[in-house]
Symmetry: C2
Subunit: 344 residues, 2 copies
DNA sequence: CTGAAAGCGCTAACAT
DNA sequence: ATGTTAGCGCTTTCAG
């Protein structure tokens, strides 16, 4: 039997308004009536219907999360931290991967206009159609962007400081005395990839070793890209003595290619990655990499979004925060490390 | 400005019912009016409010997913496959981790009674309070359980065939001639863990080598458990010549402990894991492990749940399906493997 | 402290 | 083919 607020009210001999007050702990209700209502509620195992509440309050206590993918430790960590923060704040989480560039926008729009959610956390590092983008950033609905492309200025965004991280990585390599530092880039058009590459370039520019085009290889953040990236690099006349992979997955590919090519790390080739995923700790030697503050990004995003929703945080003026990264030293860059690991 | 179906109706000079028909593609509307409505809709960038629709239709096109944790490749794969299947069916996904045993029930109940979702996919391998459990399985709300504890019979459930997988693993080890096969178990009370252990026991029972209590170690599915598990095993008088880890993470821990203890795999110790996570392919030697059909479980769960929701699948009688596993041969069990190319 | 009643935005008979 | 009109289940003024 379907039981609604009216039924509870009837059984308790009060009005629905009173039941509502009791359920929400708002407004004043005499202790006596409260007990009576609560008893009926328990007896019927009654729960408020959130959809109806949502319609009435124009608030669903749900946040939408749209991520480019749902694979990888990186995203799992992100989802995990978002879930934790949302749970702590008593909010529900609606999740979706982009599935496609076009669909990203549609999903977000559906989220925003559909009334399903109170706000959305969006991560879309690939450069998106400016016009469509405007629909989102100007929708006036609470929004927090993660790693937003640089040209998106009119929104609240939290970004991993890719540039800083890349600078730290390459500077470290330079400090070891390497002179032919190659880079395996991330996918073209991807913000994170671009910023990491920019960091690499900037360091070289300020150093006295030249930037060489033949030490740059395009990748796409996959293991395979790292693997073939290194193979390609070593098949050229000028071989690198170090390689900066735009993410750890590709660094892993580099390890594999090195293994297959009898190249020792770090003796013959130094390697530095980016992200500090769990896996990087398992490599032998442990991978030197840039730590991405993923959990921090997730919880900050939720906090910011809830703030915007409640009006405590202004969404009027654009906001862009860079979450700082840090270099995690392993043995792959040439630093002497206690022998401690196992993969490969 | 807030724009609702009434406003669209007004602008198009029709009734809200007609707008609704156009928006839902249901009922008949003359081509002429349809165009007119559509034009107004586009012009206002209007979207139906899903909350209101939900209230009215008593259907939200959203499924709830409650998982024990949101860490690990295992869960990411599961979430990923659920997202894909849901997306394909045009459904939204509300996700939550259990956070705690007690909260699992509450979250599920909230999902079920709150009207937020049309059905839920629940994975709760830890044995749960029978009585509370009943609240869920008997709620009459569409539900699909994943790896449900064996004593939960009155529901629709999809289970990885842990027993079969464990039997295959241990039988394989036996085939190699090992006689002191240890097992590092999963957490007590966890269905998957228990079933895997049962498979191990059953094989030994039917063999002529005895079951030895001192070859059994308790673990909890973490890397650490595997690490210390092996250390403990080798510190005893009777040392194992093979070890079956209840999951790959623990097998990884075993690798680490072996490395630290100068134990060669598989020469000194054979290792077999369970799950076939990405990582297992990267180990040297590659880990022999039981493949868990995670993506299959995810998509089947969505399909089944949608079937139950639509009434195509009966939820009247309990249903329990075992998803078969398969042994993935690596070099860790003693099988001769071509020099492990980890990539392709 | 409590109740009556007007929505929240949409759907779905039921009419016409 | 289109419009009228009750709801869907809850919140929230506004009175009393």
């Amino acid at each position: 039997m379907k039981i609604d607020i009216r039924e509870i009210a009837r059984q308790a001999g009060v009005s629905t308004a009173t039941v509502s007050r009791v359920m929400n702990g708002k407004g004043s209700v005499s202790d006596n009536t409260r007990q009576r209502v609560l008893a009926v509620v328990k007896q019927n195992n009654y729960k408020l219907n959130s959809i109806a509440r949502g319609l009435s309050r124009q608030k669903t206590d749900t946040i939408g999360v749209v991520l480019p993918e749902l694979v990888d430790e990186f995203f799992m960590d992100l989802v995990h931290s978002i879930d934790e923060a949302a749970y702590a704040a008593n909010k529900f989480v609606m999740i979706s991967s982009s599935h496609s560039q076009r669909n990203t926008i549609e999903t977000v729009m559906e989220f925003m206009n559909g009334g399903r959610i109170d706000g959305v956390i969006l991560m879309a590092p690939e450069i998106m159609d400016e016009e469509l983008l405007r629909l989102i950033t100007r929708s006036n609905r609470p929004l927090v962007m993660l790693n937003a492309p640089g040209h998106i200025k009119d929104c609240y965004s939290l970004n991993i400081d890719n540039h800083q991280g890349a600078v730290a990585a390459v500077t470290h390599l330079l400090g070891h005395g390497y002179e032919k530092i190659a880079m395996i880039k991330g996918p073209a058009g991807n913000t994170d990839a671009d910023e990491r590459f920019a960091g690499y370039q900037d360091v070289l520019e300020k150093s006295d070793i030249p930037f060489r085009d033949d030490l740059i290889v395009n990748g796409d953040f996959t293991l395979q890209a790292g693997y073939y990236g290194l193979l390609r690099l070593i098949s050229q006349p000028v071989k690198p003595d170090a390689v900066f992979a735009a993410n750890d997955m590709m660094a892993l590919g580099v390890y594999q290619a090195a293994l297959a090519s009898q190249i020792r790390i770090p003796e013959d080739l130094a390697v530095v990655g980016f992200d500090d995923i769990f896996l990087s700790r398992l490599l032998t030697p442990r991978l030197t990499t840039v730590h991405s503050p993923v959990p921090e990004m997730g919880s900050k995003a939720v906090k910011a979004l809830l703030g915007i929703i409640s009006g405590e945080v202004s969404a009027e003026q654009p906001y862009r925060e860079l979450l700082s990264t840090g270099l995690v030293i392993g043995g792959s860059c040439g630093c002497k490390m206690p022998n401690s690991s196992l993969l490969l």
